[in-house]
Amino acid sequence: MNLVLQIWRQASPNEKGRFEKHEVTDMSPNMSFLEMLDVVNEQLIMGGREPIAFEHDCREGICGSCGMVINGVPHGPKKAITACQLHMRSFEDGDEIWIEPWRAKAFPVLKDLVVDRSAFDRIIAAGGYISVRTGSAPDANAIPIPKEDADTAFDAATCIGCGACVAACPNASAMLFTAAKVAHLGLLPQGQPERDDRVLKMVDVMDVEGFGNCTNHSLCQSACPKEISIDFIARLNRDWRRAAAQ
């Protein structure tokens, strides 16, 4: 299939970027989207030009490295998958495809489609953990956990930290990401002792990092490759209110 690509090129954080047009021919519909970009890059290199920088590693939708806004939609047109799981058969021959990086003050562009998501790590570092010294843990079956709680906690825990929620949110808010971790740990008995402290600290850092405020647009949920539910955002708000009232 033949395509017209409009790809965001930006040499460095402070340089201003622009869209670069690439007309590519006879791509296979069985290629993954990133393999299509690989081919484009091979051609660029052969032409002595710099390849398009984009983040990727596992290429199977679990590491959260990849991420780009494809025709306005984070991770592309198909729901519940990452950009690396997208295949060209999801496009029509002759399509024009616009490819942009995540856009948020808290995610500065490093180069082309690569952004700096370390703000997420700092949110986790603020309290997204359960303090347990190595070796100090009781037997794994000492505390039974009702299956539903474990399952709901799991739904939240499937977040891969890709940042699509921030990219999708009109306010560039990190609420879904933060809510997912707060819910994951807050739903488990092991997470109770630090529950209040955790939510207050994580939300503080979230604000400091320069993410926007959640006005409940719920677009994050639609863009999330793991379909994390905004119910967790309501949960976060409740936990925060409880903790703040303490």
Binding site: I45, I62, G64
Partner: protein, 637 residues
């Protein structure tokens, strides 16, 4: 070079306790005076860095991804073993130990494997306390499954994302220590060399992947937790960034490389669909519980699967292994698939692949049951291939998946360079010639949480190390070499892309040093690889600058190392003139085409010493003795 495994004396059950008692301890007040570098933030690296910081050491942790949470461990699916015996089905430390040694086809060190089994239980306790949401029964207790043909249910799992959940646990512990200042994290930073001062590893030289800055980091001890080298084959189930660079450069500085030819090929992966293929996706082995594997009996039968009548299908695994059938071990299932494909009976456009057919299972159990068991796997398959596995049989083919080989380490996980410790998939590990399913996660976390934090303390307490800073001449020297290498790669300005070389190397290794090997093929590979390496340095094209985020430069450095390392893989495979585990030498098979070990001549670990690029490496042998698990031939008939 002297190999001393430092295995403690006494009965195997007491060795680890005895050893821990005899260890020298670092005075708590002094711990923060010790700097430890941990390269890698996977299960092994993250768990080690967090645990060491907890103990009070001053830790620096490095990874090439943009966040430690993205280490390749995240991709592990199936589960993690532990001898908890929660299922009351007769599991025990001893049985896990026994199965692992036997599964490794008697090429692993008994003492290490026993210790692994001993600490396996603590791992589960630790992870649950961290909030890892393992699968549970309705009673609220942990659930287990039997995995990779094990006779007991000892595998703990978290849906299809066990590795992700375990890594997030370790990552969160790591971030906690980072917030406390115990760990300084360096993401997007690639280690390009080890610095050895007065015979001991005293630091590393790194490249900042965003600015290209080459920097030295000095420390009292260095830990490599940099994962496996399956990407030597280019196409593998590993993440794109997985590489041999860290371990290879350490090897060039004097760390022995053990059993490089022990590479595991996973039988159930989605076959490549074209030459643009960039990596292969693993399909959980559990599919083999209900799927039936077959190919057409006739060579070159291109009919659609449903048009091929029952009597013209060859369910070869069921035919050859009546008792184990489709569940026969990884290496066997893989090798048999290659046989039928080489015989021209492969399926799919490329002819590279065999059918994994759920027709009968759907008839027997109903579609709903199959959906419930494998729904998401079927989705993934359809997502990638565009085919509906409910209607058309899946196509699968083996792919490189795990590497048992790695840097040689003693019982304390220290390499032949004093102070250089190696953990996780990066060391030659406890899996011998073949790893059992769900044992790699166990080993990575055992090393990081429960072994290294003790043994490294012993090393630091025992050795007197002169203060060394980044300004030391040795660091300056290595920095220069590293910088020159980067310059050299950029200076070639040839006509071929890095990937094209990587692909070509991968094809050579896959062909001659893959699922089955023979003298002629290995010798051919040993001719081709040096030529390819030579062409690479003459004709590779790396665009862009060194002082910048430059992904083709990153790749180039890694491929250059694979091009040196691939040769060692083949040398090792050629030297090991026996079949064992995943290493199948066609010259050595039983009448039924089973791997035939030669314990007389090869019951040893091959530890290779580097003598120079293109020079024959020097072989050192660590003899293996089996006092607890009697040597026996595997038989899955």
């Amino acid at each position: 070079m002297q190999l001393d495994a430092k295995i403690p004396t006494g009965p195997i059950e007491e060795q680890w306790d005895k050893h821990r008692f005899e260890m020298k301890l670092v005075n708590p007040a002094n711990k923060r005076k010790f700097d430890i570098i941990v390269v890698g933030s996977g299960l092994a690296g993250a768990s080690a860095a967090a645990s060491l910081a907890e103990l009070g050491y001053d830790v620096k942790c490095f990874c090439f991804q943009d966040s430690p949470r993205r280490a390749h461990s995240i991709a592990a699916q199936g589960g993690i073993n532990a001898s908890k015996n929660y299922q009351n089905d007769g599991d025990s430390v001893y049985r896990l130990f026994y199965d692992t040694v036997k599964g490794g086809d008697f090429r692993a060190r008994e003492a290490n494997v026993y210790r692994l089994a001993q600490v396996s239980g603590n791992i589960i306790d630790q992870c649950v306390a961290q909030g890892v949401p393992f699968a549970r029964e309705y009673g609220g207790l942990l659930s287990n499954r039997s995995f990779g043909g094990a006779q007991v249910s000892r595998t703990f799992y978290a849906r299809g994302q066990t590795g992700q959940q375990l890594l997030l646990g370790a990552y969160q512990a790591l971030e906690h220590q980072i917030s406390l200042g115990g760990v300084k994290m360096f993401p997007r930073t690639e280690m390009l060399d080890v610095v050895v001062v007065d015979g001991a590893a005293r630091g590393i030289v790194t490249r900042d992947l965003t600015t290209g800055a080459i920097t030295s980091h000095a420390a009292h001890a260095v830990v490599l937790a940099t994962g496996g080298y399956s990407n030597a084959y280019f196409l593998s189930t590993n993440a794109k960034g997985c590489n041999v660079t860290a371990t290879w450069r350490a090897h060039k500085r004097g760390a022995a490389f053990a059993n490089p030819c022990f590479t595991q090929i996973h039988p159930t992966c989605i076959p490549p669909s074209g030459e643009y293929q960039s990596k292969l996706t693993l399909m959980s082995e559990s599919l083999r519980n209900d799927g039936r594997i077959w190919v057409p009996s006739e060579v070159g039968d291109k009919r659609a699967p449903k048009e091929i009548p029952e009597n013209e299908r060859d369910y070869y695994l069921e035919r050859i292994y009546p008792s184990f059938g489709n569940l026969s071990p990884r290496d066997i299932a893989s090798r048999r698939a290659k046989e039928v494909v080489d015989a021209g009976r492969g399926v799919g456009e490329s002819g590279v692949g065999v059918y994994l057919d759920f027709r009968d299972a759907i008839k027997r159990l109903g579609k709903s049951v199959i959906t419930e068991r494998y729904g998401n796997l079927f989705q993934i398959y359809q997502q990638i291939t565009g085919e509906d596995p409910y209607a058309v049989p899946m196509r699968i083919y083996p792919a490189p998946h795990y590497t048992m080989g790695g840097l040689w380490v003693d019982y304390n996980l220290m390499s032949t360079i004093p102070g250089l410790h190696v953990i996780g998939e990066a060391n030659f590990s406890d899996h011998g010639a073949n790893r059992l399913g769900a044992s790699a996660l166990m080993q990575g976390l055992a090393d990081g949480y429960f072994v290294l934090p003790y043994t490294i303390g012993d090393y630091l307490a025992q050795t007197t190390l002169a203060p060394v800073s980044e300004n030391h001449a040795a660091f300056r020297e290595v920095e220069r070499e590293v910088t020159d290498r980067v310059k050299k790669l950029l200076a070639v300005e040839g006509t071929r892309s890095v990937d094209s070389f990587h692909r070509e190397l991968g094809q050579i290794l896959w062909e001659y040093c893959g699922m089955s090997r023979n003298t002629a093929g290995l010798e051919r590979a040993l001719n081709q690889i040096p030529e390819l390496r030579e062409t690479f340095w003459r004709d590779v094209r790396v665009t862009g600058r060194g002082e910048d985020l430059n992904q083709s430069l990153e790749k180039a450095g890694r491929v250059a190392d694979f091009l040196e390392f691939g040769e060692l893989m083949c040398q090792d495979a050629l030297d090991r003139d026996e079949s064992c585990g995943a290493h199948f030498r066609e010259e050595h098979q039983t009448g039924e085409g089973e791997a035939k070990r030669d314990d007389e001549r090869y019951a040893y670990v091959s530890a290779w010493e580097f003598t120079g690029v293109g020079q024959a490496p020097r072989l050192h042998k660590e003899a293996l003795t089996f006092e607890h698990v009697p040597l026996s031939q595997r038989s899955y008939k």
